[in-house]
Each structure stands twice: as C-alpha cells, then as structure tokens.
C-alpha cells in the first residue's frame, strides 16, 4: 500500500462513485427527463395547440421545465452519503472537502443536466420553437444547467440533515434560479429575432465562473454545519 497524494484521484473517485450509482439505479437519470417531457407536453394541452402561441412561450416553458426537473435529483445529491456516513468519511479525508463537493456537483450535472442538454432540440421541436433559436436553447442549457447544479447543491447541503428538507430546499433554491432564468430565456428570445445573444451568454458564463469558484466552498461549509 502506498500513499498517493493526488487531488485528481480524489476527484475521479468521488465522481465515479456517483455516476456508477446513478447508472445502477437508472430511474434516477430517466425520471427527471420524463418529468421534463411531461411538463412540456402539458403546456400545449392546457393553453391550446396554437403553433404561434407555443413558439412564443417555448423558451420560458423549456427553461422552467429544466429548473423543475433539476430540482428532482438535487435532494439525493448528498442524502445517501449523509445517511450512510460517507459524508463524514469525506470530511475526515485529508483532502479539501470542496474538491469532493465539486466532483459530486459534476456527477450530478452529468446525470441530470447533460441529458437535458442533449434532449433539448427534441423538446424544442415539440414546442414549435423557431429553428434559428435551437442553437441558443442548447447553448443556454449547456451553460445554465451546471449553474443550476451548483446553486441547487448549496440548498441541498444546507437541508441534508433535515427530515423533510426537500420542500424547504426548493423554497431556498428556486428564487436563486431567477437570474439564470431571466438571462437564459432572454438569450433564446433574442435569437428568435435573429439578433446577437452573446451578451446574455457572457453573463451566464460569468455567473458559472463565479459559481465554480465560490459554490464548492459554500457547499462544504453547509455540509459541515449539517453534519455537526
């Protein structure tokens, strides 16, 4: 047995565990996607299948559905580790907890956010979104969904010790999603008008950069509080 002090090994191990677990319980990956699909099909049924109206509402509906289906998997991101004591083992490891947290958020995004990005063009067609807005939809989801995972994980970390933390977490997290929602839908709207939407994307990117640096620290503090 030798000691190998490598941050990369830690990151890979934590990431691999979460992704393996998600693939072993495949419902975890499929259910949020189905939820996304069902929410999107409900809208035409409720407001009428008029193509122009749907196309006008598509960016908002796709993004609200993405927000809600991200919430579905968030509750689980730290819950199992908290229950079985793995979280304590992560804290008691000689590596910074924020690095392990970063790996867990990355795993959450791979299993929850990435499938949505991949399926987005299909859902956009369902909503009769203008073809020129497809690129913007995929791009905003690509930048926006990791942001949702980061922000959501802060709420998940704070509420992991509570008996019924799920609803409280939604109440904490959803208001924080508003800026993401505003800039993402604004980017798609702009692209429908065939205008440049790089400004909104840049703001989303800046928010992601800040979250990448700051969120793991916030999440690990939240987890330490939850465990004690």
């Amino acid at each position: 047995m030798q000691v190998s002090n490598s941050y990369w090994t830690l990151f890979c191990n934590v990431y691999r565990k979460d992704v393996t677990l998600a693939f072993r319980q495949r419902a975890e990956i499929v259910n949020p996607l189905l939820f996304f699909l069902i929410v999107i099909t409900l809208f035409p049924l409720a407001i009428g299948p008029e193509p122009a109206l749907l196309a006008r509402m598509a960016p908002g509906i796709i993004w609200v559905a993405a927000l809600l289906s991200t919430m579905l998997g968030l509750d689980k991101i730290f819950r199992d580790d908290y229950m079985d004591g793995s979280l304590e083992q992560l804290i008691a490891s000689p590596y910074p907890l924020s690095l392990a947290v970063l790996a867990k958020v990355a795993a959450h995004w791979t299993t929850a956010g990435l499938p949505m990005v991949v399926m987005a063009p299909v859902f956009a067609l369902l909503m009769n979104l203008e073809p020129q807005a497809l690129g913007a939809t995929v791009l905003t989801l690509l930048i926006g969904t990791p942001l949702l995972s980061f922000i959501g994980a802060i709420g998940a970390g704070l509420t992991v010790g509570l008996q019924k933390g799920g609803i409280l977490m939604s109440l904490l997290v959803l208001p924080l999603y508003i800026p993401v929602l505003i800039f993402a839908t604004s980017a798609i709207d702009t692209s429908i008008m065939s205008l440049a939407y790089s400004g909104q994307l840049a703001i989303l990117g800046a928010m992601l950069a800040v979250a990448f640096v700051a969120a793991p620290i916030a999440i690990s503090s939240a987890l330490r509080v939850s465990v004690s």
Partner: protein, 178 residues
C-alpha cells in the same frame, strides 16, 4: 483509550467533537499542540474515524466500497491486496455483490477493512464491535494490538469488555447527567 458510560452519556458526542465533526461549546481540541479547527486537513491525515454510520454504500459492492474509500483518503492499493484482505475478513465470494445483500456483521466488516489499509496514527472508533461475531471481535482486537505496537493510538467506545488485555489501556467513564 476506552470510553465507557451509559446510553446518552455523550460518548458519541465526545468522539464527534474530537474528530472535528462537531464544535465544542467551550474549549478547543488540540492534536500535537495544534488546534484541529485551524488546520483540519493536516489533522485528518493522522485520523481514521469509523462511526455508527460506517460509510458503506449499500448499492456498491464490498470491493467498490473499499476502493472508493482508499481513493478518497489518498491510499493506493492493488486489486489483489484488497481481495486478499476481504478474504481474510471472511468475505470470500461476497466481494462483488451489492453490500445491501450482506448481513449487518458483514457490512461492518467491509467498513473495518479500513483498519488494515491506512497509515493513520489515531483511530477513533464508535462501537466497532457492533454486530460482529466472536471471531470478528478477536480478529479486531488482534489488529488493535498491532496498531498499538506500531506506535498508534486508539480511542473507542464499547459496551463490551475487551477480551484481550492491552497493557496501555486507559478507561474514561462518562456519567449520565440530566
């Protein structure tokens, strides 16, 4: 050192404070004259903690659990070493089934494999003998002796009397107060 006391006396709380999971209301925890809250990652290098909740994921196999724990704590180990160790702990043929199908004692053994796979000086163990059979308890105490001989220390809570006699054993008895 063995910590004794009736249920609710605060044995687990004390261990959690010493391990740095909970903050003490008053005072500090010092390790090598260094406050652990100030440089926790450094302290964690010398610490092995196994609590009530052992950190064994029930969906993963015994082998994967050990592998993951090693990775998280920065220890490298070959596949053969892990398999032979799991075999030594009586988990032959159970290395690759999900841990949820194992019995409570076997799950505990999966967690206790870590005692053979670390270089930590200080072991903090909360009720390590729970669910273990007599042979398991004896094997664990044998491992304790090896660790003590190599200059390590162990802090544990248990309701059972230790059957081996450890020359350096100290006992701290906590009283239950309202």
């Amino acid at each position: 050192m063995q910590i004794e006391g009736p249920n609710g006396a605060g044995k687990t709380s004390l261990l959690r404070i010493i391990s740095g999971f909970a903050r003490p209301d008053e005072g500090n925890v010092l390790f090598n004259n260094q406050n652990i809250a100030e440089d926790y990652d450094n302290f964690a290098q010398s610490l092995l903690f196994i609590g009530h909740r052992t950190g064994v994921n029930l969906q993963l196999t015994a082998y994967e659990n050990v592998q993951h724990w090693l990775g998280v704590h920065g220890y490298g180990c070959t596949e053969d070493e892990i398999y032979s160790l799991l075999g030594k702990l009586g988990l032959v043929g159970l290395e690759d089934v999900p841990a949820r199908t194992l019995s409570a004692g076997q799950q505990r053994r999966v967690a206790l494999v870590r005692l053979w796979l670390n270089q930590a000086k200080l072991w903090i163990l909360d009720e390590p003998f729970t669910a273990l059979d007599k042979r398991g308890v004896a094997m664990l105490q044998g491992r304790f002796q090896e660790h003590l001989d190599s200059g390590g220390s162990i802090l544990l809570t248990t309701h059972q009397d230790l059957t081996n006699s450890f020359s350096s054993l100290q006992t701290l008895v906590l009283e239950y107060r309202h």
